[in-house]
Subunit: 204 residues, 4 copies
DNA sequence: GATGAATGAGCTTTCATTCAT
DNA sequence: AATGAATGAAAGCTCATTCAT
């Protein structure tokens, strides 16, 4: 697995990031303390600072990590030989799977990264830290337009729809407001997205 | 205006809420301090506690206030005699107007209320504090379905699309990622929403 | 009763003192706030300051009041035509009755006056504020000695025994450590005190 | 001495407790602040919280410490091969010595522990935190009864006499009301206690 | 690398007291 | 006499970060 080719120090960095990811997602950035993280890792606070020079740097590395990971998943979908409609379905499915299996990642995105912008400055401005992920969505969209499956419109109109919608559902699910399983929504939500974006001459 | 029929104490409460709303939205809940709020109001810290018994209570009252206010705007649209498609357009317009004219309100929703759920417990669980707003969206959706304009689907599928999309655009706009004016997006975004939700036999 | 010959202002002062006595005894001097007292009296804090110029003055007036009241009870016993042994019994009885019927008074003595000496300076030093009560004990003791019933010893040796003992029992009772009713201890405790103080040639 | 076998952290805890004991006794629990204690120790406020998690916990640990220490002194007396009458004398002597040499301890008992019961809850209810001391008095009393030296009576009647009396004298002494040296009272007070408790057939 | 005691600024909250009305 | 909003100093406590070991 990917941990194997890393140095011991890199492996420890990842371990710290995964633990901090969990705590930040569950309890929030400001309500999670460095001692909390160190304790869960059975590590001293002083030593934690040998791996990350500040709480902010740690938070930034985590969003880069998460963005890269989600980006990779979408990259695979972009590279697969399926229709635009099927790609939408696949992306929604991947996203909701993540929400259920690794909720920390999506929660981190919504409740740490998006909500505490003041933490993600100095090297994380704009989209810098989430570029791998945004780029893949952009590729998906442009290929859909080029192939004639999607209407040509402002990228952000499409991006906001796609990501806002999925994020919104993730939030509603996190609040335990859904009566059904989140994964059971995949079909209808993929359908809604497709209807919103498809070109008028695309097949239903 | 509405301030006139209030007692002096109620007016001061509203004044405090508006100032805190501004600071919380701009700087975040945890990074805004009570002394910050008091200073901006030219008021002593102690006196602020004569109006709100804790920072959390203040935050909760603000979300109730904002939800009521946005709910009222949508209520007017629901009551107006226009088509479902036009209602979608009107809601998007209202929302983006707010984003531009009173960005604090939308930011508060996205970055304070949604992001710091631990603050909104004890009287604000689930949707309690945003009910006025959610209810109006629900009414809009159900009337659209009843009239045959919208497909009948799970409410949250529609709600997530609508609100996730608008929230996503507000966020992107707040990040200064858009090259155009947010309000110039109203048409295409209303169109996307309508396409996603409309029933198959509705007119284009 | 005694309230009748007072001015309206004096009556209000007593009312405030009785309420503060209750709260101070139950919750302690520092944990009881002026707003607490005002609220229980259905009175504004500002107005309370028209009657007492500070929290400390209020506390001092209360101890004078309590000391005078207990002093009067003992005065009656001193003036009654009974033996020294019977007087001891009567004082213990009066004291334990008070503990049961008006526990605030004894508690105030033990937990407010004795414990927070820093509050009772400037006009309450030494025994000044409890003189009425101490004086009666002194009279009791000196008459007992003069009559030959009690051994002649240092007044404070006797006073410490008498009052320390009763105070100790009141404390133990307040802590709910006794299995029996406090009043059922009157006989044996009066007996112990008498044995400790009586002169060698007095009858058993 | 006993500090030697402790870890560095335990030694610091004791150092903090002794300093806090002094300040709490002299100035009271509520009028002594954490910054006061830290300053006297030449230590930062934050660091003090590395040793005790709250002001209340600190106060509780102190009473346990004091109770254990006084308990040990009485334990030695209980174990020594002297008459009941001599034991009473020894306990009074030990107690008055403490009052003179280490007044903080007795004052802490009387003015912090007994007076501020609300501080000593959650792990200090009833007698829990003073058990070592109370237990030794109980042992003394029961052995005295068993040996026929003391009358058999309710334990609390005897305990209240013994401890109330000594506490009362300590208080009077603390108030500078005595004209003589406290230690000069040992004989007559031990005598009074013995007279009160001894059995009728015991020798004078 | 690893530890965790130490720092100190800053947080939320409290409360006796004052004073304009 | 009566009100209660206003003050402001100070309290208990937290926590990111440092540093001697």
């Amino acid at each position: 697995m990917f941990m194997e080719q890393m140095s011991k120090k890199e492996r420890k960095r990842v371990e710290i990031m995964l633990t901090a990811l969990e705590l930040f997602s569950k309890n929030g950035f400001y309500t999670t303390t460095i001692p909390d993280i160190a304790q869960k890792l059975q590590m001293s606070v002083g030593n934690l600072y040998n791996y990350f020079s500040s709480k902010e740097e740690l938070a930034q590395e985590i969003i880069r990590f998460v963005s890269r990971l989600i980006g990779e998943r979408i990259h695979e979908i972009n590279n697969s030989d399926i229709s635009t409609k099927e790609k939408i379905h696949a992306i929604v499915k991947i996203y909701f799977n993540l929400c259920v299996d690794q909720p920390q990642m999506i929660e981190y995105f919504l409740r740490v990264y998006l909500a505490n912008r003041e933490v993600f400055t100095d090297g994380c401005e704009g989209m810098v830290c989430v570029a791998p992920f945004v780029t893949e969505i952009m590729i998906f969209f442009e290929e859909g337009v080029r192939s004639g499956d999607l209407r040509n419109q402002d990228f952000f109109s499409a991006f906001g729809l796609f990501m806002g919608y999925l994020g919104g559902m993730a939030f509603i699910n996190g609040e335990k407001m859904l009566t059904r399983d989140l994964e059971s929504y995949v079909d209808e939500i993929a359908e809604n997205i497709y209807r919103a974006l498809k070109s008028d001459d695309a097949k239903a």
